[in-house]
Amino acid sequence: MSTLRLTDVRKTYSSGHLEVEALRGITMSVEEGEYVAVMGPSGSGKSTLMHILGCLDVPTAGSYELAGTDVSKMTETELAEVRNRRIGFVFQGFNLLPSMSAWRNVELPLVYAGLARDVRRARAIAALERVGLGDRVDHRPGELSGGQQQRVAVARALVSDPALILADEPTGNLDSRSTADVLSLFAELHDSGRTIMLITHEADVAQAAQRTVRIRDGLVEQVVAA
């Protein structure tokens, strides 16, 4: 059974009289446990695709099935639960809350899952240890380097043990050393059975994946198996 299936997905942004067709009919599927890279030039629709995959946005046309369920039929509350339980996000801009310490940032998905505070803290610290930040649990994002912040974000993505990890240019703001750190974390997650979709425009980053989907102007251009 495939984890995700997109059928002729289109997304049109309209701001005023201006219409932008960001996705113009994407059909693709990703199997459970796959490690897929999505590559394409800037403005080709990669982020739009990831937002739809992550249930953060809905397609204008076409259907998206996540583990056999049509996402367009779900309510806001059900979508929130899907995002909470099944998906872990890693954003290019980290998206950490600056006023909270590392472990408080990491525990956020567990807060909305309704877990008790001591359980959350234990799991958040375990996740931070897993990304090599066991000694930084009480640091705030401002007190961490870019690579460390992204590792906190990865810890947050994996803390709820989701089946699918979506990463939108997670290494876009990182130096090569931190990039290697983050990529090896993804490799580990993949080895432990997670489905990973990694969006990037860097060819050497995409190399880590089993399969690369190239998109251009909102269409799948090419699928390359590694």
């Binding site: 953060l56 946005d57 929130a80 909470n84 998206n95 956020l108 998905p109 807060v111 909305y112 947050r156």
Partner: protein, 410 residues
């Protein structure tokens, strides 16, 4: 996300914008304190007036010349020659005509200068009958009160109030001394026990009481011998007050030969005096309370404004929380709790300020401030309500934000 977690998150948000939260709460705080203090001042003034009027005696009716219901012009008011006479007073004291009236005291008053040796004191001189003492529920500190014999012979005797004695006879021992009123010498025969009136305008402890007959001949030159300015009527009991009122009213109407619509006198009871006096205060309280209420409303709008700013400012945070699994209702709850915490905290602090004001203000204003527990609880509930109301719209906006619109906002 459970209640404690929602509360914790809301408090963190409030704490992370300390200055802004403080200023927002200040609006509610000042509003609540203003409402509590104005209402407290009003209630204090009302209870003070009631207490003063209660000292008149509980079964008392007060008959004064002139009509308060007059719509056809002035009919023999207080300033001109009085329509009430000593004959009216003696008619009222008849047990056959008015069985529910226990005793009657007619009084005439005039402001006069009292002289003892070289010292001078201006006070109210009251000409009345011996039963004034009972009717006004007063007692003597020393000496005796005026008697029927004093009245019949129009003797120049006077009974003084405690404060008057303090002014004229600083060394004490007033009984037996002589005091000059309007050129005539009066012998002080008694001193009234003090009742300690706090009013700044009139004092029940600063007065001189003389026989009605003596008053007419020696004190007040311009008043006719038989006219009086007030007749105090004491009913047989509190329950007989209404009957006494009707008897007095009917008797005086007959004696004056007028219909009730053309009455040239008015009768007030202690209750009606309290009602009239406190209703003015009540109106003022409502008015001031209303102004204070508007400041509270402005405070509430302030909370709403800040919550809207907060939602706009935290679009990214809201989007992130939604991306991580916050449901719309969890987001709504968070902002509602935040707004109501601001409201409730402002209300509690405002209540604190109000209580401090209620303790401090009476020293400066010489006015009592009454804070009822009901008003205190009400104020905090209202503040909480304002917070919730002010939070509903911003919280709804936050809950409806699409996670992606929120996250993209860079």
């Amino acid at each position: 996300m459970n209640g404690i977690e929602t509360f914790r998150t809301a408090l963190e948000a409030i704490r992370s914008h300390r200055l802004r939260s403080t200023l927002t709460m200040l609006g509610i705080l000042i509003g609540i304190a203003a409402v509590i203090l104005t209402v407290g001042l009003g209630q204090g003034a009302q209870s003070k007036v009631s207490a003063e009027i209660s000292k008149l005696g509980s079964n008392l009716l007060i008959v004064t010349p002139g009509s308060t219901t007059s719509t056809t012009g002035i009919r023999g008011g207080r300033g001109s020659s009085s329509t009430l006479t000593t004959a009216d007073a003696s008619a009222l004291s008849s047990k056959q005509v008015a069985p529910d009236i226990k005793s009657v005291a007619a009084t005439s008053t005039s402001t006069q200068s009292l002289t003892v040796g070289t010292s001078n004191w201006t006070t109210t001189v009251t000409g009345t009958t011996p039963n004034w003492l009972d009717v006004r529920a007063r007692t003597l500190d020393s000496g005796r009160f005026i008697t029927q014999a004093d009245l019949d012979a129009a003797r120049p005797v006077a009974v003084l109030g405690a404060d008057t004695v303090a002014q004229l006879f600083p060394r004490g021992q007033a009984v037996g001394q002589t005091v000059t009123i309007n050129g005539s010498s009066f012998t002080v025969v008694g001193v009234l026990a003090a009742i300690g009136t706090t009013s700044s305008t009139t004092s029940d402890d600063d007065l001189a009481v003389v026989p009605q007959t003596t008053f007419a001949t020696r004190v007040s030159a311009n008043s006719t011998r038989s006219s009086v300015s007030t007749i105090y009527v004491e009913a047989a009991s509190a329950s007989a007050l209404t009957a006494a009122y009707q008897e007095a009213d009917a008797l005086l109407l007959t004696r004056h030969g007028v219909s009730s619509t053309a009455a040239d006198f008015s009768i007030a009871s202690q209750q009606s005096l309290i009602k009239t006096a406190t209703s003015t205060d009540a109106t003022l309280t409502i008015l001031l309370g209303g102004v204070a209420g508007i400041s509270l409303l402005v405070g509430g709008i302030g909370v709403m404004n800040i919550m809207l700013v907060s939602v706009t400012e935290r679009v990214r945070e809201i989007g992130l929380r939604k991306a991580l699994g916050a449901t719309p209702s969890a987001v709504r709850r968070q902002f509602l709790v935040e707004a109501s915490s601001l409201g409730a905290t402002g209300g509690l602090l405002g209540l604190g300020l109000g209580v401090v004001g209620a303790v401090v203000l009476p020293h400066w204003l010489n006015q009592p401030v009454t804070i009822s527990p009901l008003a205190a609880v009400g104020a905090v509930v209202v503040a909480l309500g304002i917070g919730v109301t002010a939070g509903v719209y911003p919280a709804g906006r936050a809950a409806r934000l699409a996670p992606i619109d929120a996250l993209r906002n860079e």
